[in-house]
Amino acid sequence: MSDLSTVARRAVEAATGAGASDAEAYVSRESGREVRVHGGEVESLTAATQSGVGVRAWAGHRVGYAYGTDLSDAGVATIAAQAAEAAAVADEDEFAAPPAPAEIEALPGLGDPSTAEWDTGRVAELALSVERTALESDPRLVGVEAAVYADADEQVAIASSAGVAGEYESSTCYAYLQALAEGDGARETGLGFGLARGPRGLDPEAIGAEGAQRALAMIGAGKPASRSCPVVLDETVAASFAGLIGGGLSAKAVQRGRSPFAGRLGEEVASAAFALHDDGRDPEGPASAPFDGEGVPRRRTALIEGGRLRSYLYDTYTANREGGASTGSAARQGYRSLPSVSASNLMVAPGEHSLEQLLAQAGDGIYVTDVAGLHSGVNPVTGVFSVGASGRAIRDGQLAEPVREFTIAGELGAMLGAVSAAGAVPRWVPFGGSVSTPPLLVAEMAISGS
């Protein structure tokens, strides 16, 4: 047992000692580094460690939470006592109860030795190479706002008075850049990124080239005409929408009447071309772990299949409300947060079409490569959205001139029904949570431009 599990156990004992009828402690320790480069130089280099404990205490069916960074005996005792005290303030909720322990199957492959093996100089060189690739790609590529490499190694331990006990370690890393291109009297930006378990899994040249290509492609962009037309969403945009759908499939949102998918279980909610599942154990998934934020085993859950809504995502509390089982979907933003229902790795099923085929099927439409304003332009309760977008016109089934400064608008349900084809090659994207998705063809969407 690691020292983290010892801290977790001690916190549980302290909370029950302070009067809690049940308690659970989540302890994490993260060490990471970040390198930002600019103009061929390292702009900043960050080395960091952080650790903390979060204690959830039950007083019967009341729940309280407290967290802190002081992992000394006295510190943990204080946090545990605060959690017990907080529980007394909450109202009784008959479904609030600690999760029962379950067999946790180990999940190998969450680490990567290259994270530890690559020293700071080597990962800085990776970031510099991302920037260099972009800058050397084209004379119109005038700069890079930031090229960043970051990695993190996280250890997690959980323990509860109900007998939950587990720990794991996982590592993730990413690199990205925001490239700046100039032409036609305007500046354009382009994002390139890559995700991996460790630095050896990143391809700096591909990342740099993607950012450059995206920025260059936007030179000379104008407003498209307002109309309804077919739209192809690239992987980054499809991922953002998949994330919104995943949010609406949280049983908490559903049970509290704040989801467009409430009451639709078993009904047709999408076209047959759109299938979605959540898999907290996918070996390549950045969010994979053996168990969720309350110690329940992660698993695969089919959400939308054959166009029908198959399941919502549940944590223990929302499952208790329906007399069902948790889908292992209790998520945490580290030790600071109470577990809450959220997708782990959302995976949109790939179809059979190349991007060229999707564009050909669209015929005359828009290829959307970026959306903005998702946090304010989407109503998560109703699914009505209107967001800013940019991309390329599609003319005669081929990519044509760049377009910007327009919105795409509609309603999530109608959009899902209008997905007419999915691309064959999915990609992991860090938008909308952790999402793997191919590009998607939507038969009709409202474009508002000039």
């Binding site: 280099l45 303030v89 909720d93 509290r256 600071r336 109470l338 332009g377 910007r404 508002s448």
Partner: protein
């Protein structure tokens, strides 16, 4: 005010930070405490409290910053962070200047939230819940949250600065869901300040009624129009328009990297002469105010637009050093785990002479955006987008139907130049601004403002 770490500890850490060279070093120590609770389905839940403390040490050598942070304020831990930050440097030791303690008066807090029993906060949320639901049976769901946060900070740097601040912010938010048959709409309202519980002693329940009223109004909404038209933006949170459209583009890091449409525009006429705008971190009690910024520099009022002319960028220590100017006190960080970067504090368009009624009366067909859910900008291209949370059609000089699903979209320089009326009904609202993965509290404000033409992206067919 006593500092979180002793002057001697800070001096030792700074000396170690410069052990391998560097022209600037800084120690930032912080203790943060907070409590939050919520009401949902008329039940108090999510009661939580937290306490974190730690320190971040940075060393700057030429254009490179080395940064390390640790949990805890033990001198040994802070020195470890200093050693770690210095580890990658290979130059000659430098000596920091002796520290000179600077007395700072934090913003006054009358009623410390941590002294208020949690039960009283819970009672207040219950009152919000009751008042929202009292607006009628069409209010199907209501949630409200309470949050208090205290941040005590101490900053010491190798230029001899030794200073600190003690900040307490309090905020409540209310979200209502209204339902009529198959139509569902939402409404939200917040109230926050750099103040204590005194903020909530004067009828906090009204925000619940306002949120409920917004949701109810939208039940009668029509789909928002699409196309270019005159847009009148409401006061208060309408100021997020200026925040996104101009504020971000004036942050000196964007400017120095050529990633802002405002590069090279200093001194130029970028708006009509009727426009005056400020960033002011000293507004008493405002959400984005602090006594000092997170680099220890006293906050200040900076006029960024004077009679339509661009007059200043917003600087932190490093960007100011690069431009050979003084910091404008805009070096802010989310916590000791983040590096400071140029950030807005309270940004606002100063009151003008128009009245809201007058500027609406002059619009034949347009859109009235009372409030936004938020906005986003790419400072490099100037493209921005705002989600409208409460909006109406303007027809024949009158406000008519409420609209759902509207987004405003445009380009900064064009939209800024197209502001042709500024109202006299000024007020401030609170926001949380994200940049570079860091969230900080910011204030936004204005009276009503009219933009000659802007693209409204709606769902109307």
């Amino acid at each position: 005010m006593s500092e979180l770490i002793d002057q001697a500890v800070a001096e030792r850490a700074l000396a170690r930070a410069l052990a391998n060279g560097g022209h600037f070093a800084e120690v930032f120590a912080e203790r943060r405490r907070g409590q939050t609770l919520a009401i949902d389905e008329s039940r108090i839940e999510s009661v939580q409290s937290g306490a974190e403390e730690g320190a971040g040490v940075r060393v700057v050598d030429g254009n490179t910053t080395y940064f390390a942070h640790v949990d805890g304020l033990e001198p040994a831990e802070i020195e470890r962070a200093a050693d770690e930050a210095a580890a990658a440097l290979r130059a000659e030791r430098r000596e920091p200047r002796p520290l000179q303690a600077r007395e700072v008066t934090p913003l006054p807090i009358e009623h410390r939230p941590e002294d208020v029993p949690a039960q009283r906060k819970a009672e207040m949320l219950r009152e919000l819940d009751e008042r929202a639901r009292a607006k009628g049976p069409e209010i199907a769901q209501f949630t409200a949250s309470y949050a208090e946060a205290r941040r005590q900070v101490t900053v010491a740097n190798s230029d001899g600065l030794f200073s600190g601040d003690d900040r307490t912010r309090t905020r409540i938010g209310a979200q209502a869901v209204a339902r009529r048959d198959a139509t569902v709409e939402t409404g939200a309202e917040t109230l926050g300040a750099h103040r204590g519980f005194e903020l909530l002693e004067d009828d906090p329940g009204q925000i619940a009624e306002q949120a409920a009223a917004k949701a109810l109004t939208l039940l009668d909404a029509v789909p928002a129009p699409s196309g270019s038209m005159p847009v009148v933006v409401g006061g208060g949170f309408g100021g997020v328009l200026f925040h996104e459209m101009t504020g971000h583009g004036l942050e000196a890091d964007h400017i120095q990297k050529g990633a802002s449409v405002y590069v090279g525009k200093l001194g130029e006429q970028v708006a009509e002469p009727l426009l005056n705008a400020y960033d002011d971190g000293r507004l008493p009690g405002e959400w984005g105010s602090d006594a000092i910024d997170d680099e220890g520099r006293p906050t200040q009022m900076t006029q960024v637009i004077e009679d339509g002319r661009l007059t200043s960028y917003l600087y932190d220590h490093l960007t100011a050093e690069r431009d050979g100017v003084a910091s404008t006190g805009n070096g802010r960080r989310e916590s000791f785990r983040h590096l400071p970067i140029p950030r807005m504090t309270n940004t606002y368009i100063a009151p003008g002479e128009a009245t809201p009624e007058g500027m609406i009366a002059e619009v034949e067909r347009g859109f009235y955006a009372v409030s936004f859910g938020g906005g986003q900008v790419d400072p490099a291209t100037g493209d921005f987008v705002f989600g409208v949370s409460e909006g109406y059609l303007i027809e024949g000089g009158k406000v008519t139907s409420p609209c759902r699903g509207a987004t405003l979209i445009g380009n900064c320089l064009e939209a800024l130049a197209a502001i042709d009326a500024v109202g006299d009904d000024f007020f401030m609202k609170t926001g949380i601004c994200g940049k570079g993965g860091q969230k900080v509290p910011v204030g936004t404000g204005q009276g009503h403002v009219r933009v000659r033409a802007m693209t409204v992206g709606g769902t109307e067919r």
